[in-house]
């Protein structure tokens, strides 16, 4: 009974619209807990789906699911405190959308049918739009508008891509269900030209959602305007969901022996994303946008790693997991900072070291993690990607990769130094008490990254290997 994992939050989400505010918060945490329980259960049992044509438990899906579930649970704890502090008007809407969002993302991870996956991914857009619009300001309206429109257009392209893949089946006279696993098995017989065209469209489509440059344009707006817990969810898990679509399509490509084609495209998009992130990180003025661009960078890294294949693909999966953990922690931290200083501008924030020491620990930890310092997992992921790229002989690409990472680090570090240590001009009084439930979720997320950096449980490891071996990854 796989479907319950996404049906449960769906129903609970609908239900939450009818609950009073205070109950809603508890309900949210509860939903997170239930979902986590269900996901862990799913992980352990790996049951068959009721609708095996549409849903199945795949290793890559499981990985994403468990990350989503864990993140959502922690974020829901934070959200409960956050809502108490921030006094949103549309709290009910927010909580309900969070749960629906969770439900749709879960559906993405569990769907195996290419159309169903499309439906689920489009549904995530719709479910998350209210989250971005929470503040009801002009800016958030603009961000939501861009988000909905760009993502819808992009994802429409993915739909076209899936249609083209089915065309490739027609041309190649393959008659199997439209599920990723079946398609991978029959990939050799698919018509390569239409498959390629389909892949391109899917890549652009889901790439829009994932935040690959130049389709990333909605991302910084949406992340900066959404309330921080929502940004954490968007950046931490939504991007992964979109990546899942690309990953699975790439699997078909590799099975069809077109890995050169798909790999090159992924590498190019990855590099473009990293460069785009570098462009805007250098002189960024808002810290939430900074984090958003850093997400674009990391998505670029992941796409690059996937394109490299081999040990690079393994590195990409590690980056994916750890990026979710670290970036969501960073976004939650940014929520604290935003509430503390009341401004999104880097200029107006400063001297976290003195004013918000506990937040600073989470902030610096997250920064170190996201820039690829040990003991956080992105370090090892990036290392694998780089050595993998050398192994496969992508010298030019890896040189660009390394240099732009350096530029990004220089830009990022500058802002972080400013925010953490530099004095703010006037005596800012911090309007936030650093309470445990707004600090510990971040700490736990970072600690998870550290633990997973040092030690990966066998079952998780096996799942990762199952996932990457399908895209020609390994070690």
């Amino acid at each position: 009974m796989v479907e319950i994992v996404f049906l449960a939050p769906f129903l609970l989400g609908i239900l939450s619209f009818f609950l009073p505010k205070e109950t809603g918060r508890i309900f949210l945490v509860l939903t997170g807990a239930i979902h986590l329980f269900l996901s862990v259960n799913l992980w352990r049992k790996r049951p068959e789906a009721l609708l095996p044509d549409y849903f199945s438990v795949t290793p890559e899906g499981l990985l994403s699911l468990i990350v989503i579930s864990l993140l959502f649970f922690l974020i829901s704890i934070y959200t409960a405190a956050y809502l108490e502090e921030s006094k949103l008007e549309s709290e009910k809407m927010f909580i309900g959308s969070m749960m629906l969002f969770l439900s749709t993302m879960t559906m993405v991870t569990l769907s195996d049918h290419i159309m169903v996956m499309w439906i689920a991914i489009e549904a995530t857009t719709l479910a998350s739009a209210p989250l971005i619009f929470t503040h009801r300001s002009k800016a958030s309206l603009e961000a939501t508008w861009k988000y909905v429109l760009i993502c819808s257009v992009g994802i429409a392209m993915a739909l076209l891509g899936t249609v083209l893949i089915s065309l490739a089946m027609d041309v190649g006279q393959v008659n199997v269900p439209l599920s990723f696993s079946e398609l991978s098995n029959a990939a050799k017989d698919l018509d390569p030209m239409w498959l390629k065209a389909g892949f391109v469209l899917i890549l652009v489509g889901y790439g829009t959602k994932m935040g690959l440059a130049p389709m990333h344009t909605w991302l910084p707006d949406a992340h900066s305007e959404a309330p921080s817990p929502a940004s954490a969810l968007l950046s931490g898990v939504l991007l992964n969901c979109a990546y899942l679509g690309i990953f699975k399509t790439n699997k078909i490509m590799i099975a069809a022996g077109l890995n050169d084609f798909s790999g090159t495209i992924l590498i190019v998009f990855g590099l473009m994303s990293i460069l785009a992130a570098a462009t805007f990180i250098l002189k960024q003025t808002e810290y939430k946008r900074l984090l958003a661009y850093s997400s674009i960078e990391n998505m670029g890294i992941i796409a690059f790693g996937t394109g490299i294949g081999g040990v690079g693909a393994y590195g990409a999966i590690l980056c994916l997991i750890h990026h979710s953990l670290i970036k969501s922690s960073l976004f939650l931290t940014s929520g604290n900072i935003l509430m503390g200083y009341g401004s999104r501008l880097i200029e107006k924030t400063g001297n976290l070291a003195k004013l918000m020491p506990k937040t600073l620990v989470a902030f610096l930890g997250g920064f170190a993690g996201i820039s690829g310092f040990p003991p956080f997992g992105i370090f090892i992921g990036e290392m694998f990607i780089i050595v993998g790229a050398f192994r496969t002989g992508h010298y030019v690409a890896v040189v660009i990769f390394i240099l732009s990472l350096c530029v990004i680090f220089a830009g990022f570090a500058k802002h972080v130094m400013k925010m953490s240590f530099e004095n703010v001009e006037d005596d800012t009084d911090i309007q936030l008490e650093e309470r445990a439930s707004m600090i510990w979720p971040q700490y736990i997320l970072l600690a998870t990254s550290i633990v997973l950096f040092l030690w990966i449980p066998d079952t998780l490891f096996k799942t990762i290997i199952d996932a990457v071996s399908a895209v020609g990854g390994g070690f």
């Binding site: 169903v116 002009k138 429409a156």
Partner: protein, 213 residues
């Protein structure tokens, strides 16, 4: 040989040109509704066998694409009494010319590829490509937010048309899911339109370019 569906599809092509040239939002909505109806009816002509299920599905599609979606937008406009000008970025004449070029190119491209279409229709593929790209054109060339939403719907229609051209293997439930998604998307966009109108007093996207870099 002229396939029966080609007749109505040529009307769709014409409607694209019409949409490009028109400066009124209401006209555009009507064009979209017309396209929605035609596009939903195409499977009737192309499918080899018609089951009860598929006929039902066609009816539902017709209802959503041809009626509910345009109505949604129309109501949204009505409610907030938005100015009717589409505010083109690319002028009407140029748009018209682009539309002609587009139709030509679409025909050329679809003939280049040897697509084993399930139907013998000559115009199906060119029309699909045309409205797909035309939708994107509207998205890019019209400042009016409503026109952009309409462009998106047109694009979706195009994709649907491409899908019906050759995909017979998806179950209706899946297609229905897709349809639902589109519907929900359009509804959310309609809500956004209302909000834009409330916040900015009109739906010109000129106001929506403050977030950058």
């Amino acid at each position: 040989m002229i396939h029966s569906v080609d007749t109505i599809l040529s009307l769709v092509l014409l409607s694209v040109l019409f949409a490009f040239a028109s400066n009124r939002v209401t006209v555009l909505i009507k064009v979209i509704a017309f396209q929605g109806i035609i596009v939903s009816l195409v499977p009737l002509f192309t499918s080899s066998e018609l089951t009860m299920g598929s006929i039902n599905f066609i009816l539902v599609t017709l209802a959503i694409r041809g009626i509910i979606i345009p109505l949604c937008i129309y109501l949204a406009i009505k409610k907030v009494s938005i100015s009717k000008e589409v505010e083109p970025i690319i002028g009407y004449h140029a748009s018209l010319f682009a539309g002609l070029l587009l139709i030509f190119a679409a025909t050329y491209v679809s003939h280049r590829f040897n697509i084993p279409s399930v139907s013998e229709s000559l115009l199906l593929m060119p029309t699909a490509i045309t409205i797909l790209v035309a939708g994107m054109f509207l998205l890019m060339a019209r400042r009016n937010a409503i026109a952009m939403v309409l462009g998106y719907i047109m694009m979706e229609n195009g994709i649907y048309l491409v899908g019906t051209t050759f995909s017979t293997r998806t179950h209706h439930i899946v297609e229905f899911g897709i349809l639902l998604d589109v519907l929900a998307g359009v509804m959310i966009m309609a809500i956004m339109l209302q909000n834009i109108k409330q916040k900015f007093d009109n739906v010109d996207t000129l106001h929506l370019r403050n977030l950058k870099e």
